[in-house]
Amino acid sequence: MNASTATATSPLRPPGSAWPSRAPLLLLLAVALAVPLFVRSATYLHILILLLLYAYLTTSWNLVGGFAGVLPLGHAAFVGIGAYTSTVLSLQYGVSPWVGMIVGGFLSTLVGVLIGLPTFKMRGAYFALATIAFAEGLRVMVENIDRLGPFLLNGPRGLQIPPLELGFGRFMFAEKEPYYYIILAMLVLAVGITWAVSRSKLGYCLAAGGEEPEAAQSLGINVARVKLVAMAISSFLTSLAGTFWAQFTLYIHPKSVMSLDISFEIAFIALIGGRGSIAGPLLGALLLRPVSDFSRIHFGDTLPGLHLVIFGGVLILVMLYQPRGLQEPLTRLYRRALARSAGMRERG
């Protein structure tokens, strides 16, 4: 049970129910749009921006990790490529990070397809391991390269972006609000793309190939090709987040934008929220990011490391009781409530 049957736009649902099914997402969007009007503190906006950033990363990841039924654990590589491409281009050549963002996106797509070609033949853990190996390999290389041809990477010391020119064109702001709305727009875009993919032929082919590759192949689906297409889209979108990260923190080094921690956190969020659904990554980020940030803020100083224990505990609990993520039981509840309000009785 994967992808298409669990998504908002499942073809099995009766017509006319599209609006109520999308209502929570639209409401969430309305709330998200209004948040900066209420949350004036830069601290909490910062935390919310990171929340949206991770929701975006996981949504992008979900195209491969959820719909294509494999577990890629090397998406940090694309974050890194995006961050480094736009930063190097803007620091050395004065190219606007917005342009660098797109260049980085295409570079990541290329790399993503190149990784996908040999690795999509692997199954299960082997695929996950191969992607980890690739991302770590790339990080180690960047850590040991000060200069790649004409491009200054500065090895393990990373690159600092001096906050000299502020403004939209330079993708740099003194306030948090612009960052908030940019990442929110990116998230809406990624969710939209996921939604479009999930109801397209590509989405069905992906779901079929993820569940039963042999059966799908016997029906004439080129499983490897559809997975590659998903990987291309996913790596492109992930890479954009890298540029956002660089412009938001104004400092990147291999251990921050290319670390395995990012890949793992994305996978955790997806697992908690529910892989292969549109709402899963959003739910996962909404639950896990605040747990991680607030436990760090409140316990990080008194009992060092306790926040990591809490984080791990939540993860274990959800995996024990809701191994398919929170998205499924919540969907069931919502449907039941809808049915009840419509005066009908429905059994879960």
């Binding site: 908002a8 969430l28 503190s41 040991n144 393990p156 990373g158 909404l286 449907r335």
Partner: protein, 410 residues
Amino acid sequence: MKSYRILAVSALCCGLLLWAAAEAPAQAVVKVGNILPLSGPSASVGLQNKQAQDMAVQEINDAGGIKSLGGAKIQMLYADSESKPEKGVAEAERFINTEKVHILTGAWNSAVSYPVSAVAERYQIPFLVPVSVADKITEQGFKYVFRIAAKDSWWTRDQFAFLKDLQAEFNTKISTLAFVYENGDWGKGFAEGWKKHAQAGGYKVVLDEPYPSTATDLSPVVQKIKRANPDVLLLTSNAADAILLTNTMAEYKVKPKAIIASGGGHADPSYLKAAGKNARYLFDIVEWETDVNKPGAKETNEKFKKLYGYNLTGESVDAYAAMYVLADALERAASTDPKAIRDALAKTRLTKGPAMIVGYDAIEFDESGQNKHAALVMVQVNDLGKGLERITVWPKASRRAGYKPVFPIP
């Protein structure tokens, strides 16, 4: 689909945010936000920093707090950076915006202090850095960053000054050098300095070998050192790899005339325990040693050891001294306004008091915010009949009375 719960969860999150945002700051104290790696790979050094600062703040508060502010107490707030820049930045923002701290300190990791210094500058909150040594931290033209420790380039400069003095003292010529260093931020920074100084000093570099500090086998590196056969080996290592290198070198019987380490792993108390006699005759550059000839140093170290169970290190001493530098600035500022504190810090000239257990005679910041008097000492590991110990040998004025360094390694 999706559900009410999405709303419930988001509402809960928003609620949490508002609740946390509504917490009001307390009064009549000087709030210091301290960002340190309290979990993750650097947790143990982060903790040592915290303990040294806690001890200093306790002493300052017990002695009546800041008198010019009516006896205001210093309140330390701690945040965990997990050694990650983005978390350090988030915590700096939280300290400034939510906790309304008057001053920031930390963050041990240069990679965290660097972006945090930009946050501090933007909000105009002074950022007092005890030990992040990367040169660039005070070289950004910022007005609100102040650093106690000697910076990267001074460490390598002093290692080569020592090398020169050593040759003069023993009348032995050193012509070839080997550089072996961990391939991170810190090691690479050192190697750059070494290359520059080697060129200027006319030494021949026979080996330039970075290695990953997580390596579990360093025998290929040691074989390279053996083949290169340098007069002097310069090292920059973290704790586990320092031990591994020293023991592997003993196994392969690699014996250059001298080995000069760069603190860090070699200064970690676990190093001497695990490397044992293999570490004998090693030279190590540090900011401070327990045998430093300064009044009060011994007592302060005893007190620290009693409280926490181990000796002060150079880094903890910087962290300890930083709190007295802050107290001194607050006394002179007679205000908790961050701008006034900043101006007072810039005019610091501290020559007495508990902070002077440091190995030099004054703390004073230059234009860039760097403590211009920060100095380093070279120690040699030797056994004088009471087990292995670290003995200060350089500069000559600080050398432990009656000790003559052993060179070349017998």
